[in-house]
Each structure stands twice: as structure tokens, then as C-alpha cells.
């Protein structure tokens, strides 16, 4: 095989892997504390991308546009918690999960009304140039996607491992009753993780829009990709989600580069089935515990 193809395959796989990992991390933070699958996660990505593109088109610098969009997406996560999850806190986790689907539909409908059906795009952050080497190309935005994903993961590890709030969140995930007994407000922690998940979605939306474009209806496909990354790697561990994203990204790159297009879906399904048969809780699972 040509060297340029091998290089491009690796670049493509890492890039897609980082995108899927960033999508999956939103699921991880919510699930690890609340045991609710937030199926509106993709809508945060959409809102992050759409708002960044909207502010940028109004003349706001791109980084500032992205920061505002991330803040709004985080706020939206808070609204999901306060408006949907908190009122339904006594219902089953399955019911709460289904309620997030309703929230996702509502966000998609509002987005269609606000932004219409048109796709929006963004230039590479800070006009980063493309890098060509060995016949392969790293598109200017790719280092931003990889770098920001790595930064987010590092921040997440530091937050959970070295801050009081992070440790409180882990306590809620490990033993909600025990956490309550020692005075931790589980409900407040739940609000924090929804805000965090919203912000993660916003980050993903802002950084991938220069590569992929964004429109009001990308939320659901993003939810599916993020869910797959989370389940393949193991939704209860952040490093599992990263690994899941990378496996998916590489699988997609192999399928796109080496296989006829009619086999793409079959190939992805084979990988998923192999993982779920061998490791039902994901590649880096901890048997359902954080």
C-alpha cells in the first residue's frame, strides 16, 4: 500500500477518533453520576456549532464566538436538568432517559425555527494552515480537534481526581446514599454534570464545524456516534470513552479507505458485535461501576 495512503489513514482515524471521543465524553460525565443516558447530547453539539457560526458571521472573533457558544450549550445542559430531569427525579432512570429524547426533539424544532434548514460552516480556527507531508495532508482544523479533545480529557481527569467538587461527583457516582449522608447534595451534583455535558457538547460542536459543517438536524447522528464511542470503550470510564472513540474512528477510516462502500455499515456492525460479545460492558469497563 502507498505510504501516503497509510499516513492519511492514520491521520483520518485519529481525527475521527478525537471527534467521537469528544462526543462520548458528554455521555460519560452524565451517566457516571446520574445513571441517565442523556440522548440530547448531540443537540448540545449542534447548538455549539450553530452558535459559533452565527456569532462569527456577526463579526465576533472565532475563539470568542466558540466560548460564548460553549457557555450557552452548558446553560442548555442546566435547563435540561432543571426543566426535565429534576422534576422527574423520582421516576425510573429509563423514563428520565426517554425524557431527554423529548428534550432533543424540542431543541431540534427550535433550531429549525431559529436558523432554518441551511448548513453553516466556519473557517479553521485562527486560519491555521493545512500541513502537507509524505503525500498526506493534515487539514488545519485537525490539530485543534485533537488538541482540544486532549485538553478536555486532561481537565476532566484533574477535575475528578484533584478537586473537591470532582471528588464529590465521584462520591455521588459510587454511592449516592453515602454521599447524601455526608452532606453532598446529589441533586446539585447532577445539575453540575448536565452543565458540564452541555459544555462538552458545545466544545465538540465548535471545533468540528470547520471540518464537517453544521445544520439544525445533526444532533441525532452525533448522539449515535457519541453513544457508540461510549459503549464500545465503556461508558463508566473516561479513558474507555477515549479508546472507544479511537476504535470507531480507525474502523471508519479503514472502511472508507480500504473497503467498498457497500460494506461500510457491515464492517462497523462487525466491530460493534465483536466488542459487545467479548466485552459486554465495553473495552475498558469496570462492570458497570465508575
Amino acid at each position: 500500500m502507498d505510504l501516503s495512503i497509510v499516513l492519511q489513514f492514520f491521520i483520518s482515524g485519529v481525527n475521527l477518533g478525537c471527534i467521537y471521543a469528544a462526543l462520548g465524553l458528554g455521555f460519560f460525565v452524565v451517566y457516571s453520576v446520574t445513571r441517565v443516558l442523556n440522548l440530547a447530547q448531540g443537540e448540545f453539539v449542534m447548538v455549539g456549532g450553530m452558535l459559533t457560526a452565527t456569532f462569527y458571521s456577526m463579526g465576533v472573533p472565532i475563539i470568542l464566538s466558540a466560548l460564548i457558544a460553549i457557555a450557552v450549550a452548558g446553560l442548555l445542559g442546566g435547563i435540561l436538568h432543571c426543566g426535565v430531569i429534576h422534576p422527574a427525579r423520582n421516576l425510573s432512570k429509563a423514563t428520565q432517559t426517554f425524557l431527554t429524547v423529548g428534550f432533543a426533539f424540542a431543541i431540534e424544532g427550535i433550531a429549525l425555527l431559529v436558523w432554518g434548514w441551511e448548513y453553516k460552516s466556519l473557517p479553521n480556527f485562527l486560519s491555521t494552515p493545512n500541513i502537507h507531508f509524505g503525500g498526506a495532508t493534515i487539514i488545519g482544523q485537525t490539530p485543534w480537534v485533537t488538541g482540544i479533545t486532549l485538553l478536555a480529557v486532561t481537565g476532566l481527569f484533574l477535575f475528578f481526581g484533584h478537586t473537591l467538587q470532582g471528588k464529590a461527583l465521584r462520591a455521588c457516582a459510587d454511592n449516592p446514599l453515602g454521599a447524601k449522608t455526608i452532606g453532598i447534595s446529589v441533586d446539585r451534583m447532577s445539575l453540575y454534570v448536565f452543565i458540564l455535558a452541555g459544555a462538552f457538547g458545545g466544545i465538540a460542536g465548535a471545533v468540528i464545524t470547520p471540518l464537517t459543517m453544521v445544520s439544525y438536524n445533526i444532533g441525532f447522528p452525533m448522539t449515535i456516534k457519541g453513544l457508540l464511542a461510549a459503549f464500545v470503550g465503556g461508558i463508566t470510564r473516561a479513558e474507555g470513552v477515549i479508546l472507544g472513540g479511537m476504535v470507531l474512528g480507525m474502523a471508519e477510516a479503514i472502511a472508507a479507505g480500504l473497503m467498498p462502500s457497500e460494506y461500510h455499515s457491515i464492517f462497523a456492525m462487525i466491530i460493534l458485535m465483536a466488542v459487545f460479545l467479548c466485552q459486554p460492558h465495553g473495552l475498558l469497563s469496570s462492570s458497570g461501576k465508575t
Binding site: 495512503i5 483520518s12 448548513y119 487539514i139 488545519g140 464537517t212 472508507a256
Partner: protein, 396 residues
């Protein structure tokens, strides 16, 4: 209490009188079912198509309807899914009792309308750019929109005759639209003594096409043809230019839509600037004065500007929606059917559509027959490129 009872009785009687006096809408209008994706992934296409249908229907109604009878557009969302298409088409036929269905959608969904329309004995006009299923249209379905054979011919004729190119690479969307073009592309390239050096595929939702483009960069291709119905085709253009591909690129209609041009205009203008297939309505202002279609395109643009809010000219799918409604209007004018007998009405519209002759519309001149439910006899496809944010005519 007695007074209230009497008042209630009067109210109920008045209401029942109103209901029984009101003739059913079938008696006073021709109901046109507008089945389009209004939500889901094809909503962008469907909403434009619906707007085109509505603009023409409003214009006809303002001018007194068809033979004095107004058109009533009955919108129905197919939700961008085959299930939505089947349920929507059934509802339009059995509940709304429409005279004809206009299905403004994509190939994969258009095919789901066919068995429902055949079973319900209701004429249906389908939006699909592929001729691959023309032999399955049956008695009640029509596809007077376009054919890949015609598109492929103008694309490869231009590459070969105008640019002197003989070796071409192709990137085809993994959809009915892409498959249809690929099927006819094989024939057309051999007719023009051209060689397809590599054919790559991409999914409609693909976001990374760099591997396919690397393969093309490594080939001996002198030009690249990208054929897709959605944003992935436009992303392919962007990523090809990002990766330093300097070949001439020709793409399909959808890549020239206003939102794609807005998103990727700067990439489209990188030398050699992108060329897309287009309808004359897209560039009517740049058509020569003696072009026989200029006045028709200008009138449509002005009609859209007058009837849309905010005012805008039609995109490609708006033109297609307008054209679908004009097809029905032409059939109704000739058939003059009685709107009160639904079965007869549907049958007469079907027969009238089949006898359409030299109907001069925006994308072609159409002559249909019982054997030919496509009928695009004279094509009006043009090639355009991009300069300073404007579309410029390359070849007609």
C-alpha cells in the same frame, strides 16, 4: 336555565347547518397533496420544494384558478423516512382525498410512494434524479425531473471537448443518486473515449473524505467528478482543495445550492474554480438576451420575490417544486375534470399527464406517453462556475 338550553340548541343547530351547508373542499377545489420532508435530514430539500409548489399554486389561484376552480395545496411531512412516506401518502389518498400527489424528496424515499400510489389509484409526480427505476413507475407514477444520462453527457462532453481531458477520477455518493450517475457514467465515458482511472465512494453523511482524495491525488486523473445530493459532496470539494488537489472539479446541482456556496464559496473559487450542473433559473441574469428561456426564468424569479417572505429567488429545489405544480396545472387545464368525482378526477389527471406534449418548463421540454413517464425530450441543463460570489455560465 331554559334560556341557556334554547341558546345551546340554536348554537348546535346553527353549527350543524354550517357544517351541512359547507360543501366539502373536494367540491370547490382541486386538492394537491404536497408530500415533502419538512423535518429530518432532507428537510432542507423538502421545504424548498414545498415553497415552490405553494408559490405556483398561489399565483394560479390569484389568476382565478384552473378553469375557475382553485388549487388547494395539502402539505404532508414525510419526515425524511420511508415509513413517513408510506403513512403520509396513504393519509393524502385516503383521508385528505387529494387528486394527485407531488412527492418532492430524494430517490430512496420517492420509491416508497410508488406502491401506495398504484394501490390507491392516485397519480403521483416524484422528484428523483435517477432513471434507474423508470421501468418501475407503473401506471400512476411519473418522474419528469431529470436523468443522469443527460447530466453525465453534458459533464463528460465538456471535459472532453472543451478541456481535452481523457482521464477522469470520480467520487460517487453512496445513494440512489450517486449509483444512478455511476451506472450511466460508464457508458458516457466510453462514448467519449475517456478513461475512468479511479472511482471512489462516500457516504451521504461522511465528514472525512481525505482517504478517497489521497487515492485520487495518487492517480493519473486529469479531472475530478463529484456526484452527491447532500453536503458531503461539498465537503469533498473543500477537502480536495485543502489537500492541494488542483484538478478541474465538476460537481452536481446540490453542491451549487445557496447554503453550500455560502459555506464554501472561497473554496469553490480556487483556480480552477468549481463547475456545477445547474438549471437556467440559477443564472438567468447572466443568460444572453436571445436565450429562449430567459423570460421564463425571470418571471419565476420575480414571482418568488413577490410571494416569499423574506423575498428571495428560488433555489434549485424551489424550481423543481414549481415545475411539479406546473405539470399538474397543465394536465388539469387540458382535462378540465370534475372535482366532485374523486376516482374519475384521479383517472383523468393520470391520462392528461400521460398525454403531456411539448410542455416547456425550466429544466427540460417534456413529452410524456403511456410508455414514457419521464419524457424529458429537450434538456436545459447548463454548467456554471463561480466568480466573485456569483454564478457564471460556462456551457449550455
Amino acid at each position: 336555565m331554559k334560556r341557556i338550553t334554547v341558546l345551546l340548541l340554536v348554537f348546535v343547530l346553527a353549527l350543524s347547518g354550517m357544517i351541512s351547508c359547507a360543501p366539502s373542499s373536494a367540491e370547490e377545489s382541486y386538492k394537491i397533496g404536497a408530500l415533502t420532508p419538512q423535518t429530518g435530514k432532507y428537510a432542507g430539500l423538502g421545504l424548498q420544494t414545498l415553497e415552490g409548489m405553494q408559490v405556483i399554486a398561489d399565483d394560479i389561484n390569484e389568476k382565478g384558478g384552473i378553469n375557475g376552480i382553485p388549487l388547494e395545496v395539502v402539505p404532508c411531512d414525510d419526515k425524511s423516512s420511508t415509513t413517513g412516506v408510506t403513512l403520509g401518502a396513504k393519509k393524502l389518498i385516503e383521508v385528505d382525498k387529494v387528486a394527485v400527489i407531488l412527492h418532492g424528496t430524494v430517490t430512496a424515499l420517492a420509491q416508497s410512494t410508488m406502491p401506495v400510489a398504484e394501490e390507491g389509484k392516485t397519480p403521483a409526480i416524484l422528484l428523483s434524479g435517477t432513471a434507474l427505476f423508470d421501468d418501475q413507475l407503473g401506471e400512476w407514477c411519473f418522474r419528469p425531473m431529470g436523468s443522469e444520462e443527460d447530466y453525465a453527457d453534458i459533464v463528460f462532453q465538456y471535459l472532453n471537448q472543451d478541456l481535452g481531458i481523457t482521464r477522469v477520477a470520480a467520487m460517487m455518493e453512496n445513494s440512489g443518486y450517486g449509483q444512478g450517475f455511476e451506472f450511466f457514467m460508464m457508458d458516457v465515458t466510453s462514448q467519449h473515449n475517456m478513461e475512468l482511472v479511479t472511482t471512489q465512494h462516500f457516504d451521504p453523511a461522511a465528514t472525512d473524505l481525505t482517504l478517497q482524495i489521497t487515492d485520487i491525488k495518487n492517480s493519473s486523473a486529469e479531472a475530478l467528478v463529484i456526484w452527491g445530493s447532500g453536503p458531503a459532496g461539498a465537503l469533498a470539494v473543500k477537502q480536495a482543495r485543502d489537500m492541494g488537489v488542483t484538478l478541474p472539479i465538476i460537481a452536481a446541482f446540490a453542491q451549487g445550492s445557496s447554503d453550500m456556496v455560502k459555506a464554501f464559496g472561497e473554496y469553490y473559487e480556487i483556480n480552477p474554480s468549481l463547475i456545477v450542473t445547474s438549471s437556467k433559473t440559477d443564472i438567468w441574469q447572466n443568460l444572453p438576451e436571445d436565450d429562449p428561456d430567459k423570460a421564463m426564468c425571470r418571471d419565476l424569479a420575480n414571482l418568488f420575490l413577490e410571494k416569499t417572505d423574506p423575498p428571495h429567488e428560488p433555489g434549485f429545489y424551489g424550481v423543481v417544486g414549481a415545475q411539479m405544480m406546473l405539470f399538474v396545472a397543465d394536465a388539469l387545464k387540458r382535462a378540465q375534470p370534475d372535482p366532485t368525482d374523486l376516482a374519475q378526477l384521479r383517472s383523468e389527471i393520470r391520462s392528461a399527464l400521460e398525454s403531456t406534449e411539448n410542455l416547456d418548463l425550466f429544466t427540460a421540454v417534456y413529452t410524456l406517453s403511456p410508455e414514457d413517464h419521464y419524457g424529458g425530450s429537450i434538456q436545459k441543463i447548463v454548467l456554471v462556475t463561480f466568480k466573485d460570489g456569483e454564478k457564471v455560465l460556462v456551457r449550455s
